[in-house]
Symmetry: C2
Subunit: 260 residues, 2 copies
């Protein structure tokens, strides 16, 4: 288990994302101490961390102010992440002898293939799909040869939907068991993009790898937009509930060790 200040930062971040702590609200160290029954030392550390993440900012005089996260923020961050991944794909295509990462990518593609071919979408399968997706995307960041791409991606991965290889599912459709085929089709299309990216990298086709990754990254943005057309008052919490959370999420602690 992490130290209190990390846990605290996670809790407060969650509260901000969920909207429990509203945008623009003022918070003081003392209140947080009170709420969470800890002393001011870990609270201070947690606040500094959140400040560096951009979740809160120092108020004019004293105190901190909640910055909050909007759906538009998520969209923007997804765009940044996607752009960084397209760089990673290009760089990896320009290198060679990344057998390790390539094998992982291939494995992930095959695994996702067999998963989508099962024609079902229960929790276990979704979790496995997510794992494959994480595997694929992480392998590119690891194999691109530029550690700062991964590091920089890690810097925004505390936001909802922005952890490495996050997947989005249409909760409503799945729970209602309708349009399962549609969701699976979408996953198959996504995996076909994975395969193309993999092939392009193997063949050293940097332009194609980058282009396909760019297209692939757009998928999530478009998906967010379909949510928005259906639900004009789409909240960040809604988005979170659409996102698959792995049990062992990449947290900021591991992120900081990207460079080994």
């Amino acid at each position: 288990m992490s130290s209190i200040d990390i846990e605290l930062a996670n809790t407060i971040r969650q509260d901000i994302i969920e909207g429990t702590l509203e945008h623009g609200a003022r918070i003081t160290e003392a209140k947080l101490c009170d709420w969470h029954n800890v002393s001011r030392t870990p609270v201070r550390l947690a606040l500094r961390r959140l400040e560096q993440e951009g979740m809160i900012r120092k108020g004019d005089g004293r105190g901190y102010v909640i910055e909050g996260i909007s759906v538009d923020d998520i969209r923007q961050a997804v765009q940044v992440r996607g752009h960084l991944e397209s760089l990673a794909a290009r760089l990896m295509a320009q290198r060679d002898n990344q057998k390790d990462s390539l094998d992982k990518m291939n494995q992930a593609v095959l695994q996702m293939d067999s998963l989508t071919n099962m024609g079902r979408l229960d929790d276990a399968i979704i979790r496995e799909m997510h794992a494959s997706n994480v595997e694929f995307h992480s392998a590119i960041l690891d194999g691109c040869g530029n550690d700062y791409v991964k590091f920089t991606c890690g810097q925004i991965s505390h936001l909802p939907m922005l952890a490495a290889g996050s997947m989005v599912f249409d909760r409503d459709s799945i729970s209602g068991n309708k349009d399962i085929e549609k969701s699976i089709l979408r996953l198959k299309i996504g995996n076909s993009q994975h395969r193309i990216i993999y092939e392009a990298i193997v063949q050293g086709d940097a332009v194609r790898a980058e282009g396909m990754m760019r297209e692939h990254s757009n998928t999530m943005i478009e998906y967010i937009e379909t949510f928005e057309t259906r639900n004009t008052k789409l909240t960040v919490s809604d988005l979170v509930s659409y996102t698959v959370q792995s049990s062992q999420e990449m947290n900021s602690e591991t992120v900081e060790q990207v460079k080994q």
Copy 2:
């Protein structure tokens, strides 16, 4: 003046960049307290900050270990930053009515024009050139409509050469007053790229804007490589000495307020 922990983080970061604190060296809170005559509270805050930046990492058991920065790290980070700027250029070209930012860019281009036409490269002129360069690059980040691009750039801007609009000069040539024409030519070429980027954005030519920015960003990487061919043992300190430092550098505090 900032609080002690910010200052302390800056000092320690500087020591790491300069190599005073060597890569792999172990540091303890107590020693830092001793060296800087402060209590452990600000030291802890500074260490956490540096840890988040990736400059240090927690050791296996106790203590922290210096990660250090290599020339290759800088090259990688420059690549990431350039890629993000190319995204910004594309996004800005796709928007319209960014009159404010466009004016600033145009102003910066004109200013750089007149500066390069003076045919001299003294300190004052270099400082003004740097200011124009910062103006140009900041305007794109501000005008692209995606706050996370700027925020993410800010996350790596504590590294040498990676503050917004950093410029690199061939110190040896300038101090020796030889090859001034060559340096000025390089600056003129750079500014012609600025002008093309500006024009492309005005015309809404996203592809051209992105492509030109990508090319423009490559310049610094290539310049680093010319340094390397000349000096096979190029150190990070060398690179720092080639970099123009504005008197009012964008520090981490302002970076955190990107989102306003």
